[in-house]
């Protein structure tokens, strides 16, 4: 019995907060509307008394016609079950919301993102700076009245494509000048990067909070050094930068800097039609395009109220689990790279990955940018040849290869000494920082969306949630090995039981009708919980399209993992979180 199934009047939360909290009774919306002044109290009750300890997603929506900005929170219990959704509405002219970082530290980066992209100010946030964009950026791009540099029209399809077909190149339009705007009194030529100073100030502040005194520096023997790792650094897995303060070799504070690959995926998504977003989701976490498709398809199908046919469900699960194997093999290979085993382990696992990519290519037409899922099914059927190939791989080849990998690395003394006790995140910290996926489970929290809140047909398969107790780099490696084995189990069952029949409900349509409403579709992506928050207003384009990106949110706990560690371990810790910058920066 959950809150949702009770009627409005007897809802315990509404009853408790009386006129401070009300149900969100807009058509096809869920959750509670909380007044900004009651938000802290409400969240504290939710966490401490009702057990919603895991804040999954924080995001904002711009309701321009109502002159309102809304912040949407999704909280879960790590023991499983559905979400508690709560929302705060503030006037667009003065969007100020109390920060939830003191209660849920995992809200840190997500609130910064909402400030950056929507201009919602969170009071009480310890470090409210822009996170994805640079500080010389004018405006908050996810506001509905903001227009990008090469703005053509509010929504696709653009009118000049057909029937006149006035072809032009983007380069031929003016790249600078009228297309780019800067804040008042900002001159690009005379620009002094103030952001750097505020970044270093934040670094110092964070250190002082931790050490508990205002002038820790004088007490130390040597002077502290600030070191920038990245953005161009081979071990950061892309253009990612970390600024660390060092006391000798020991890290005293760390701030990740990201956004170098930012392209405002969400704004593009709001210009696109629902279907057009599908190939764009491939490019978030480009290692796991199949399961990115999965989450988005789930979110939109929830809104449309359709179900894929049985065969499609099985194929979806086969593809998602193969993707998990691909991702974990890749993560292990590159973790070893970061530890200094240059490319031999990586190439051994890439061998196996290639076999799975061959299957993806035969099925979807592309090795990495699969674009295979459609609303209510799939783009095309799985051929018998491909199914045979999958069977051969998961039954005969991969189990032996995973065992070989286990012999190869697990007992290796170098891997163990570099990994054990390094980058520890305790179970409480992992939940607090909203860590997800292998990072959370390596800290001893058996939370897996596939079990905790089953989607698709995962409840039919027999598998275990991989958990390890120590929360260090080595355990994150072990969790990934365990998960590969579990995924193999699932695929073995799925290829055995897969039924025949249709692979798509109804006729394939390029203009899908999505009724107005909101939905949050989440899947257990290989890197953690991937969520899509979609708001539709009944038009062909989504009103709001938000991605809860696991690689982005997993970085919230990065500083905690690194404090007190040696500088040489930062790279190993980052490798063990397993980020992909396409998803982190979006």
């Amino acid at each position: 019995m959950t809150e949702e199934t009770k009627t409005k009047a007897e809802d315990p939360i509404v009853a408790r907060f009386k006129d401070q909290v009300s149900m969100d009774d807009r058509q096809a919306y869920e959750g509670y509307l909380v007044k900004p002044e009651n938000l802290i109290e409400f969240a504290r009750t939710l966490k401490e008394e009702l057990g919603y300890d895991y804040l999954s997603s924080v995001t904002g929506v711009d309701y321009l016609p109502d002159e309102k900005l809304e912040v949407v929170y999704h909280a879960y219990r790590t023991s499983g079950g559905p979400a508690a959704v709560f929302k705060v509405q503030v006037p667009r002219a003065e969007p100020v919301v109390p920060s939830l970082v003191p209660i849920y530290p995992g809200a840190d980066f997500q609130e910064r993102e909402a400030w950056d992209l929507l201009g919602i100010r969170f009071t009480g946030h310890p470090d409210l700076r822009r996170i994805l964009l640079w500080e010389g950026f004018e405006g908050h791009p996810l506001r509905k009245d903001w227009r990008e540099a090469y703005f053509e029209e509010e929504r696709k399809p653009f009118k000049n494509r057909w029937p006149e077909g006035n072809v032009y190149r983007v380069e031929d339009k003016k790249a600078f000048g009228k297309n780019v705007s800067y804040p008042d009194e900002f001159t690009p030529e005379g620009w002094v990067p103030e952001g750097e100073q505020s970044l270093y100030a934040a670094l110092e502040a964070s250190e002082q909070i931790r050490s508990g005194n205002g002038n820790g520096r004088e007490d130390e023997l040597g002077e502290e050094v600030v070191v920038n790792l990245g953005p161009q650094h081979p071990s950061t897995h892309g253009v990612f930068r970390m600024v660390v303060t060092l006391d000798g070799e020991t890290i005293t504070s760390l701030k990740p800097v990201m956004g170098y690959l930012h392209r405002n995926h969400e704004k593009i998504g709001e210009r696109n039609t629902f279907l057009m977003n599908m190939p764009f989701t491939d490019r978030l976490d480009y290692i796991c395009s199949m399961s990115n498709n999965f989450g988005y398809a789930l979110a939109v199908e929830k809104l449309m109220g359709i179900q894929p046919p049985e065969r499609a469900e099985y194929i979806r699960i086969i593809m998602a689990e193969l993707t998990r194997i691909v991702n974990h093999l890749w993560a292990i290979g590159f973790l070893l790279n970061d530890l200094g085993a240059f490319f031999t382990p990586a190439l051994y696992v890439i061998n196996e990955r290639e076999l799975i990519l061959d299957v993806f290519e035969a099925v979807s037409g592309s090795r990495m940018m699969c674009n295979y899922f459609r609303f209510g099914g799939l783009a095309r059927d799985l051929s018998d040849d491909a199914l045979q190939k999958i069977k051969e791989i998961v039954n005969n080849r991969l189990p032996a290869k995973v065992d070989e990998l286990d012999v190869y690395l697990t007992g290796n003394e170098i891997v163990r000494t570099r990994g054990e006790g390094v980058g520890v995140l305790t179970a409480e910290q992992a939940i607090d920082y909203s860590a997800a996926g292998p990072v959370l489970r390596a800290s001893g929290v058996a939370y897996d969306v596939r079990k905790a809140d089953p989607y698709s047909i995962y409840d039919r398969f027999d598998f275990d949630v991989a958990v390890r107790p120590n929360g260090d780099v080595y355990d994150r490696y072990l969790v990934r090995i365990d998960e590969i084995r579990q995924s193999l189990r699932i695929v073995q069952q799925a290829v055995r039981d897969i039924p025949g029949g249709e692979y798509q409900t109804g006729k394939p349509q390029y203009q899908v009708r999505v009724p107005a409403g909101e939905s949050y579709g989440r899947v257990e992506n290989p890197k953690g919980e991937l969520g899509y928050y979609v708001v539709s207003d009944g038009k062909p384009n989504p009103w709001r399209y938000h991605v809860r990106a696991p690689s982005f949110i997993n970085l919230t706990g990065m500083e905690q993992m690194c404090i007190g560690q040696k500088i040489a371990d930062v790279v190993a810790i980052l490798g063990s979180i397993d980020i992909v910058l396409g998803e982190t920066d979006r």
Partner: protein, 202 residues
């Protein structure tokens, strides 16, 4: 014992190393490189040792569903003229996620009605993301994804907006790169026409 894990691991490396030579010896005289059978074996799930493909001397065969840059299909008439399948309905331009398709439709100067064949058709292949939605939703099977992935050129400003001439390929080419899809579509088309003819008789 400290160091056992390392030694075991090195054993795995040695196994991989030796595996390569065992396969080389097994394929002695037949040629482990530069032929299709050997490539298929080396790339398949039964392979051992190295997988390297000696590109460009060897090329991986692409599966039928492989997709890369769309092309337009035309029928070859017996008198040597070409008939575009495209009717410039504009669905591909509407469904294209990065909006890289431009179609010029023209009207008949006498009747004022639209001419079915497009006057011109452009795809900016720098913008195209190879998603295949245009081919998937084309009601006339007029635009399909190609298999030709070697498109490097020296000047992107001159050569990367493909026009109708550059995009058009005969149906026979399509039948060659995607035999199964082609057969299925032809069959569906024949059935549809038969149904239409039957309805007309009534």
């Amino acid at each position: 014992m400290f160091g056992m894990g390392l030694i075991k691991g090195l054993g795995v490396t040695l196994k991989h190393f030796i595996g390569t030579y065992i396969d080389d010896i097994r394929w002695l005289g037949r040629g482990r490189y530069y032929n299709e059978q050997a490539l298929e074996q080396r790339q398949g799930p039964k392979a051992r040792g190295v997988f390297t493909v000696q590109y460009p001397e060897e090329k991986l065969p692409v599966p039928e569903e492989f997709r890369y840059i769309p092309f337009l299909l035309y029928e070859e008439n017996e008198d040597g003229t070409h008939q575009d399948r495209c009717t410039s309905c504009g669905i591909c331009a509407k469904v294209c996620p990065p909006q890289c398709i431009w179609i010029v439709r023209s009207n008949d100067p006498e009747t004022g009605r639209p001419v079915p064949e497009p006057t011109d058709f452009f795809i900016d292949i720098d913008i195209c993301m190879n998603c295949g939605l245009c081919a998937e939703y084309c009601p006339f099977d007029a635009i399909k994804m190609d298999h030709d992935y070697e498109l490097a050129s020296y000047d992107r400003f001159q050569h990367h907006i493909f026009n109708k001439e550059r995009l058009s390929k005969p149906v026979s080419y399509y039948a060659q790169i995607r035999p199964h899809n082609y057969q299925r579509e032809e069959q569906e088309r024949a059935e549809k026409e038969a149904a239409k003819a039957a309805r007309r008789k009534e």
